[in-house]
Symmetry: C2
Subunit: 208 residues, 2 copies
DNA sequence: GGGCAGCCTAAGCGCTCGCTCAGCTTCGGC
DNA sequence: GCCGAAGCTGAGCGAGCGCTTAGGCTGCCC
């Protein structure tokens, strides 16, 4: 799963829930364009062109350009939250669950960095209502990670000075992967996931 | 120095080297506008307006809107590199130097997050030549941090599995502060600097 | 086979963008 | 007191933007 979804176009399958087909093609085209040049530098003509349609076709499926970003952002955040939830609620020690959460979260940011870049860095381009909705999802992500860290402290596995600060730093570290990661670089998503899981366990003072 | 330079307008003094006065006012206005809305969403009319001038005045001091971003980016990266160099070359153990580097680098990103946000996140809006120049400065930042970590390994202070990966993670953690930090939040730049210095020492396995 | 959704395009509207230019004011040197 | 340079403005150009509209082409139900 982790090394399967690759080069920009290859992340398509993640959007299988979006119908009809033309709407999905437009959404995938928008993700690629937003990731490459940013929301404001992307034109609706460019999105429609990538999807093989005329500029007007976009407005049959989406009311505005911002609605595209909103849809992308919500689906992406729901996926991110699902990843963290799955890791948080599995069986195992807090160390195992934290390593799982960080590893899979980082793999998602690295392997699907086209999507992740849009999801994590174009939040400010949304209007107030849409942004508020997305921020609620982000707070849930934060709560999942903080929960694991608190479990680890309670069980004596972790040694943490500032729970909220450390939670923030762990999520920040994972999210920033979307900024710098490149498949042409020296690491695979799996390698970065493993490296980061180790680094985070060190950050929370997990006994080795 | 760390808690002195504050609210968006208050970072002005950092641009003292820019002359004449009107050019500096335009540059400061551009930093604020780019940080708030991003490079592509900012208009030259907005920049000129913030500086109290007509749109045409901008082009007396700068050839294009991109030249403004380029100048901001270079000055900002030079400042960042200077901060890391100073910490790297001082007296002390590798642990002390790494804590100093991370602490002051994070304080700069938090306290001057308006500038830092532009410097760290608008790189892709530069043209190829300008981007190449800035990337060279970033590689020097990377080398400074990697140098400290390698010193710590050589002296036996640090226990690190992947030097390049850990260096990247440390810088990534610091840089991402510019994305989420807010002066209205629960931390001061000094507090975040201290917290992050501790977290990074844990990441490199520094003996406590 | 006629009617009607659903999906799409060509054309283009109104607007704002980055940027230019002719001309005005200010001011130091002589 | 005149001059040229420096700094700035008002007006506006050409281009490209997000988005709309009128109309055509399917394919499916009766």
């Amino acid at each position: 799963m982790s090394t399967a979804e690759e080069t920009a176009g290859g992340e398509t399958q993640a959007w299988g829930e979006v119908t009809p087909d033309a709407a999905r093609r437009l959404l995938v085209a928008a993700v690629e364009a937003f990731a490459e040049r940013g929301y404001h530098a992307t034109t609706t003509r460019d999105i429609a062109g990538r999807a093989g349609m005329s500029p007007a076709a976009l407005y049959i499926h989406y009311k505005t350009k911002e609605e595209l970003l909103h849809r992308i952002s919500r689906i992406g955040h729901e996926k991110a939250l699902e990843i963290l939830r799955t890791a948080s609620r599995r069986e195992g020690t807090a160390s195992e669950r934290l390593a799982d959460a960080v590893g899979s979260f980082v793999r998602w940011h690295a392997g699907g960095r086209t999507t992740a870049r849009v999801v994590q860095y174009e939040l400010d381009s949304l209007g107030p209502d849409a942004r508020a909705e997305i921020l609620a999802l982000r707070r849930q992500c934060d709560a999942e990670v903080r929960g694991i860290i608190e479990d680890g402290i309670a069980s004596g596995e972790f040694d943490v000075l500032d729970v909220k600060g450390t939670t923030l730093a762990v999520l920040s570290l994972c999210i920033d992967v979307a900024r710098w990661f490149s498949l042409e670089g020296r690491w695979t998503p799996d390698e970065i996931g493993a490296l980061y899981a180790d680094l985070v366990l060190r950050m929370v003072g997990a006994a080795k």
